[in-house]
Structure formats: structure tokens, C-alpha cells
């Protein structure tokens, strides 16, 4: 798709979020929506990351703390389950790992270039409470 230059746009121009006119967007999950190319959902900020969160499903209790506090709509929660991270939109801020309450954590920050399977194989053990 070609875009007009900023100096070719007229004042009052509209940027569409979707390809179709649907006034019930709130009822559709992201994967059911027909996003326009002008919706930032179609873009990626993956190259902002230095660290990335890796998700370990085995420890997760689906509390959704990570979902509510992610600033980048990058935690994929469906039907009350935490499914994982949307690596196109995650900026690697580390908030999700910080607010995750499990022991050991279900989200841990690793270097962007680390392999996820290797990261999962090195998952820390449950920490004993310090007295």
C-alpha cells in the first residue's frame, strides 16, 4: 500500500482502523478483526527490545496481572487463560515479569537473542522464603 506524504494530506483527514465498517469491534477478538494497514496492530516494535520476556506455562496460574499491566497490549489472554507474548508488540519493558506473582516466576526476562527453549530448560527452581 502506498501512503500520501504528510504534506499531501488535507486537514481533517481520517485514518481508518479497519478495512470494513463494523460498529461492534469490541465484540471481536484481535484475530477476528479486519485491520487496516494504517492500524498500528499491523506494525512491529520488536526491534526495540534488548531483553524479552519468556513465558513458562507450567508455573503460570493465569492470574492476569501481566495482562492488565502490560503497556503494549502484548500479553495474549483468551478465555481467562494466559497464552503467551505477542513478540511483534512487546517492547521488553519487563513490567510483566516484575508483577508476576508465582514462585519461580512464570515470566522471566532473557536476552533478545537467547533461544526460548534453552531459556525454558534453564528455568530456576522454587525459591525458599528468606527468614
Amino acid at each position: 500500500m502506498e501512503f500520501l506524504g504528510w504534506d499531501q494530506l488535507e486537514a481533517g483527514a481520517v485514518i481508518p482502523s479497519f478495512e470494513d465498517k463494523n460498529s461492534d469491534i469490541v465484540k471481536l477478538k484481535q484475530e477476528e478483526r479486519n485491520y487496516a494497514k494504517t492500524n498500528s496492530y499491523t506494525a512491529s516494535v520488536a526491534d526495540w527490545r534488548v531483553f524479552k520476556p519468556v513465558f513458562n506455562k507450567d508455573v503460570c496460574i493465569d492470574c492476569q496481572n501481566c495482562w492488565v499491566f502490560c503497556p503494549d497490549t502484548a500479553i495474549v489472554a483468551r478465555d481467562k487463560d494466559m497464552l503467551g507474548i505477542d513478540y511483534d508488540h512487546c517492547k521488553g519493558c519487563g513490567i510483566c515479569a516484575e508483577v508476576c506473582p508465582t514462585n519461580p516466576k512464570s515470566l522471566i526476562m532473557f536476552f533478545e537473542n537467547d533461544d526460548n527453549d534453552t531459556a525454558l530448560s534453564q528455568w530456576p527452581e522454587k525459591k525458599k522464603k528468606e527468614k
Binding site: 498500528s40 492488565v68 499491566f69 503494549d72 517492547k91
Partner: protein
């Protein structure tokens, strides 16, 4: 009818209308606040956004991050745009010219503290006095963040900003933070409240109340700014917790200009210095010659908390 949100699991079934790949800093609280607000309702939304980090970073041409009608407007006139849209909507409805007249629509305005406390102040005051049915949300990060960190009338005393730099001759800003919640309550607005993103349940409750209130509503949202408050990006929620638990940002609401209710009482109140200590903008206050500013701030926080409690008790 308002959406039922009993717990976080249920809240997480919301279909987001604020998309990722906006260009706000990693860890920015503005977007956490916006997501909590948009996800608390299924109604259609018309949103006006004053210039500031939120507007600039969520509409970088050719992209928009908004899955709702969203108006990109000047620095000073988010309240004007929202009230104009609301007035037009009412007129079209009266004339029978709406395509879906039974669908509920809510009008929202977002502004930073610069846009709200300073530059858009008279426009907000006017819109509230005219009684438009809209909710104004101030994303209060206590600084003009988008232009590089200049002080606003929301910046607290003692904070170092680019226009009130701390150094050999100064401890930072000398003037006090404006009490915007009290000012908006004094307009007689039916609902005014202070919220913080770390207390999501309190926030959702207040947002739902705000959207179902007929008439103008003002919400002051504490928005911890990793860049200008100077803390690591993963600490946004922790810093916010210190903000609410030190009572620097007490959570309360005021109905019909007078009835005050405290909505969050920290189990363990933490000292103000703990909140200051995690932020680079207050680092200089820990020097020996500036310690009296911290003591002064603690005293002011105690007095304000006392006042809020007395007002709540009085129930008048």
C-alpha cells in the same frame, strides 16, 4: 448497562481497543491507564486527545493505535473537541439523524497535566461549566514529558526538571503542585476522582461510575513516567505502589462538588522518602542541605490525609 468486571480473570476477556506498536516509551503508564479505561466498557467511544505523549505516540503517520473514533486536536482544546462532538451527537439524535440511535456512545477527553493544569485549563473549566456529558481524564505525570521535561503547575515542589534544574543554587521546583481535583470539584461537577493504574479495581470502578454519570466528570490519573521521573522501565507498577501507599497520591472521589469518599486506605503507609528515593528527579533531596524539603513534603502529605479523612467523616 455497564460491563460486569468482578475479577482480573474476567477483565482479561476484554477485547482491547488500544493497539500495540504505538511509540510510547517501554513501561509508560499512560498506556496502562488508557487500556484499563477502554476495557472497562463495551460502549462505543468518541475520544478527543490533547497534544502530549499519548496523542503524539499513538498517531504516528500512517498509523493509528485506536480502534474507536479518536480526534487528534491541539494542546489546549481536548475538552472543547469532546464537548463539541457531544453537543453535535445530541442534536443529531434529537433530529432523528443517527444511524444507530439506541447504541450507547460515551465521550472522553485525554490530556496530560500540561494540557490540563496549564494550557487547556480555561477550556476544561468552560466545558464543565456548560455541563457537557463527557469524562475528562488527565494523565498526570507532573511534567511536560513530550517536549523534554519542563515543569508544569502539577510538578511537585522539590522535583528537578529541565526548567527547574536542581544544582548548587537550587533544590528544584520551588512552587507547590496545584490541587486540580479540588478545583474541578469546586466547579460542582457531579463526579471527580483520583485514580492510579496499579490499583486497577479501584480505577475500573471509578471509570464505570464516570461513564455512567450524566454530566461532566474529571478524573486525575497518576501516570508514572519512566523517562522524566527517572526510574527503570520495569518499575512502573512498583513506583506507582509507593505513590499510592505513601499517600502522595491518595485515592478518593468527590460527588456533586462536596461528598468526599476515600476509596483506598493502605494497610502499611510507607514514608514519603521511600517514594522519592526510587526516582532520579528527587535524588538531590537526599543531600544534607535539602533534607528539610523531604520533611516538609511528609508534613504536607500527613496534613492532606488528615483533611481528607475529616472531610469524609463530616459527610457534608
Amino acid at each position: 448497562m455497564s460491563k460486569i468486571i468482578k475479577n482480573l480473570k474476567q477483565f482479561s476477556t476484554s477485547n482491547d481497543r488500544f493497539e500495540g506498536a504505538h511509540l510510547l516509551c517501554p513501561g509508560c503508564a499512560h498506556s496502562i491507564i488508557v487500556r484499563e479505561l477502554l476495557n472497562c466498557t463495551d460502549d462505543n467511544l468518541v475520544i478527543a486527545n490533547a497534544t502530549g505523549c499519548l496523542e503524539v505516540c499513538t498517531a504516528v503517520y500512517p498509523h493509528t493505535s485506536w480502534d474507536a473514533s479518536w480526534i487528534h486536536i491541539g494542546f489546549e482544546n481536548a475538552a472543547t473537541a469532546a464537548s463539541g462532538a457531544e453537543a453535535m451527537y445530541k442534536t443529531l439524535k434529537r433530529k432523528g439523524r443517527l444511524k444507530e440511535p439506541d447504541k450507547p456512545v460515551k465521550f472522553i477527553a485525554f490530556g496530560g497535566d500540561g494540557a490540563t493544569y496549564d494550557i487547556g485549563f480555561q477550556f476544561l473549566s468552560g466545558a464543565v461549566e456548560r455541563g457537557h456529558d463527557f469524562t475528562y481524564v488527565c494523565l498526570d505525570n507532573e511534567v511536560y514529558a513530550n517536549t523534554g521535561g519542563q515543569r508544569s503547575s502539577s510538578t511537585p515542589r522539590g522535583a528537578s526538571t529541565t526548567t527547574t534544574p536542581a544544582g548548587r543554587v537550587s533544590y528544584g521546583k520551588k512552587r507547590y503542585k496545584k490541587d486540580m481535583v479540588a478545583i474541578m470539584a469546586a466547579h460542582g461537577a457531579p463526579y471527580v476522582a483520583q485514580v492510579a493504574p496499579n490499583k486497577w479495581k479501584d480505577m475500573v470502578k471509578k471509570y464505570q461510575k464516570a461513564l455512567s454519570t450524566e454530566g461532566p466528570v474529571y478524573i486525575n490519573a497518576m501516570s508514572a513516567c519512566t523517562t522524566e521521573w527517572k526510574f527503570p522501565a520495569d518499575q512502573t507498577i512498583d513506583v506507582s505502589d509507593l505513590g499510592t501507599d505513601s499517600l502522595v497520591f491518595p485515592l478518593y472521589e468527590i460527588e456533586n462538588g462536596h461528598k468526599l469518599t476515600i476509596t483506598y486506605r493502605p494497610r502499611n503507609i510507607v514514608p514519603v522518602r521511600d517514594y522519592l528515593g526510587v526516582q532520579g528527579r528527587f535524588k538531590h533531596l537526599f543531600k544534607k542541605e535539602n533534607q528539610h524539603i523531604i520533611d516538609e513534603m511528609q508534613k504536607a502529605v500527613n496534613e492532606k490525609w488528615e483533611l481528607l479523612q475529616r472531610r469524609e467523616e463530616a459527610g457534608i
